[in-house]
Each structure stands twice: as C-alpha cells, then as structure tokens.
C-alpha cells in the first residue's frame, strides 16, 4: 500500500482545489483521481518494478510473519492429518530437493553421530543404534509441496516428542532447529515438534531410509509443507532465538503449516 501514498496525497491537494473552485459536493473527482492512479499502479505491478521495491518487500515479509502467528493460532495440537492405506501410496514417491538426485549427500551410517544442543539437559551424541532403539511409530500420510503437488508416502521412526523427552528438551522453548548434511537448515515451532504425528523417521516404506529420501533420518510432519521436513539431519537444537531456514530466509513462509 505504501508506494501509492506519496502520489495520491499530491493528487488529493490538486483535486481539492478543483473541488473548492467548482462545486463543493463533488468529492467523486478526488476518488476518480485515486482510481486512475490505482489502475496505473496495477499496471506497474506486472512489470515487477514494484516487486523489487525494498519497502514492498519489507511489507510482504511483515505480513508473512503475521501469517506465522495466525497459523500458530489455527494449529490444533490434537488435530491429526488424514492417514491412508498402503494401496494409496504414490509410487514412485517423487524425489525433491534444492539439488538434483545425483548430488544427494552420502552419509556413512557406521560412524554417524547425531548432535543435540541448545536448551536440553543431555547433549550426548546419538549413534544410529541408539536411535533405532527408541519407541517405534509408523504412518502413511500425504506430503504436500509448497508448489502445490502432493504425494502419499509411508514413513517409520519414533515420535519426535519421545526423542525430545529423552534429551530433556525445554518444551517451553519456542523453536527446534535442524542442521543437515546437505547444508539445508530448518526450524519449527514447539507445538508442532510435540504433535503426535511428528516423527523422526529412519525408514521409508518398510526399508531403511534411502539416501534420496534423507538417510540417516528425516523429520516427517504431515501438518507442514514439504520444505519444512528436513532430511539428512546431523544436529538438532532447541532455542528461543529464531533460527530461520534455507527456503524461509529466501522468502517462503516460516510456519509453513498445512
């Protein structure tokens, strides 16, 4: 809205004097001037000049942060995403990342150690064997991509809330952040981290999670869009300082809820 302000105010004055000179009951002229300018403004929008404007960018990202709050308010911690049958699984499940399938990181499971840091009691590192010993959970849910497409997949692992309990996470903290082997990074809100369907997954469709789907582990949240689900997780941290995310820092909405 801001960019129009300076222009309309000058027209206001100009048309105001016209109004005074002519009939007092013609405020419509003032409105007409505004309308014409609005149309001109719209024409400019398509040329993208306005999209590059810093103040517009700032306005839009501020609205995006408000939308984070709205989504946090809409999020029901007990509402479950729909689950599906094995026959409904999308085969093959699409590979999706910010790089091609040939550049998928190859993590060596034998000497892998998951780091845990931030507002937790226990910062000991986790081997894959430690993680595989956690309580088991599995689900067939819909993965919804920010681009619009969706696909149904089957992930297995452990409820993330169980993991957070074991590391003594401060669940009153605001964020849980993730650092990944492919230099991806992401963060989520605590209520979603504790949601019963938020799983730290080690398997896909009954098999060990393949590299292309995020070996050694992927955080799977059917209540969030695809880009919020980090793969190849190397470190998990709990914090009150907004950690952002790979796509979020480029303009995607942070909450990314579904």
């Amino acid at each position: 809205m801001k960019p129009f302000k300076s222009v309309t105010s000058t027209v206001d004055q100009k048309s105001l004097s016209i109004d005074v000179r002519r009939e007092l009951d013609m405020p419509s002229r003032r409105l007409f001037g505004k309308r014409v300018l609005t149309l001109g403004g719209l024409a400019m929008l398509t040329g993208c000049s306005l999209s590059d404007d810093k103040s517009v960018e700032m306005f839009l990202s501020r609205v995006s942060r408000i939308n984070d709050d709205v989504q946090g308010w809409l999020f029901d911690p007990n509402r479950l995403a729909p689950t599906y049958t094995e026959a409904q699984i999308t085969r093959p499940f699409p590979f999706n990342a910010f790089y091609g399938v040939d550049d998928v990181p190859q993590v060596d499971g034998s000497d892998f150690r998951l780091k845990v840091s931030g507002l937790v009691h226990d910062t000991k590192v986790w081997t894959l064997a430690d993680l595989y010993a956690l309580p088991k959970a599995e689900q067939i849910t819909r993965h919804i991509c920010v681009e619009g497409w969706s696909a149904i997949g089957r992930w297995g692992g452990t409820p993330f809330s169980e993991f957070l309990k074991r590391v003594g996470a401060d669940t009153s903290a605001k964020y849980v952040g993730f650092k990944c082997a492919d230099d991806y990074y992401e963060s989520i809100d605590m209520p979603t981290a504790l949601h019963p369907q938020t799983l730290l997954t080690f398997t896909y469709d009954g098999q060990q999670l393949p590299a292309k789907y995020g070996f050694p582990m992927k955080l799977r949240m059917p209540t969030k869009l695809g880009y919020k689900n980090p793969k190849h997780i190397m470190e998990i941290f709990v914090t009150n300082t907004f950690p952002g995310g790979y796509w979020v820092d480029q303009g995607y909405n942070w909450f990314g809820g579904s």
């Binding site: 719209l42 398509t46 029901d76 991509c145 920010v146 303009g251």
Partner: protein, 208 residues
Amino acid sequence: MNAIPKHRASNDTARTIQPAWVRIAHWLNALAAVLMMLSGWRIYDASPVIHAFMIPTGITLGGWLGGALQWHFAAMWLLFFNALFYLAMNVVTGRIKTKFFPLSVRAIAHDLGDALKGHLSHTDPSRYNAVQKLAYLFVMFDIAVLILSGLAIWKSVQFPLLRELMGGYDFARVVHFCAMSLLAGFIVVHLTMVALVPRSLLTMIRGR
C-alpha cells in the same frame, strides 16, 4: 446564481445509485482480485493443475514462487475482510434484497434475449436487469468458493470438513483453478459491458 447549483446538489444526492460503501468495496475487491489472480498464476505455474497449460510468467506477479506466495497470502486478507464488509453491509442495509431480488429464470431468459439482440434498455441505471443480477450474484458466490477452496488448500489438515467438502486436498486445487477461470471470464464480460455502457463506470466512481 446560487440557487441553481444548490438545486442540482440536492437532486444529485437523491440520484445516488451506488452508495460510497459499495464503491469502496468494489474497488478494493477489484484490487484484491487482480493481485490474487496475478500472483496465483505464478503459484499455479510451479505445479500446473492442467499439465499442458502454463501461464506466461510475464503476466504474473511475484517474480518467483516465494514472492508470488507472499503476494497471494497478503492480498488474501484484503479480499477476505473486504468481502466480509461487503456482505455485512449488504445484509444490514437490505441492499441484497432490493437490488438483486426478485430474480426468476424467465426474467433472466427474457433479458438475456434482449441483451443479445442489443435491445436491453439502460435508461434506469439504478435498477439491475435480470442478467446483471445473476452475474453479480454469481461473482459473489464464485469469490466465496475461491476463498473456501483456497482455505482448504492452505490449511487442509486444520479444516477437515472443508477439505472433504472440496473433495480432498488435490481436488480443492481443481476447484480453486475452475473458480479462478470463471472469475477471469466474469471480468472479461464485465469489462466488455463497461466499455459498451461507459456511464456505468462513472456510476461506480462518483456514485451516480
């Protein structure tokens, strides 16, 4: 000398066809609809509902998917709150009854026939003909469908009833796309009619 403009003034006030709130809501809605449509096209292109059909990026808004999403999810508030304001005022003032009803299939068929033959009279712009009534009621309904299907896409987990009403997440996108296409069709016809009866543009600007 003084008496003449004064007389005209009172006459003008009496002839106000579109009250200020209708005009404000109309132009805010026009702005919101254009922003939603241009940014929506960019979002559409990221994963087209109809695989062979893409919208030229030159006529879209946002520059890239992330930018288009920001525009879309900002303009939606304008569209939504303005629609609420418009509907509430329509009900409160009783305008919805007096302007859009009664409306019958027979009247629509009659006026449509006249319109196609170019016989439709526009002597009294304060009254909508049956085709206008239908078109404006349709576009209100269509925007409501756009908002609801959009909500089902945006929050398919949080609004299970709405999601099922739209036939599931994937089908909600089809509904959203079809409703957008119908709105685009409405805009084309609407602008054509305004071009044919330019006085209606003045009415929507200055109220009479």
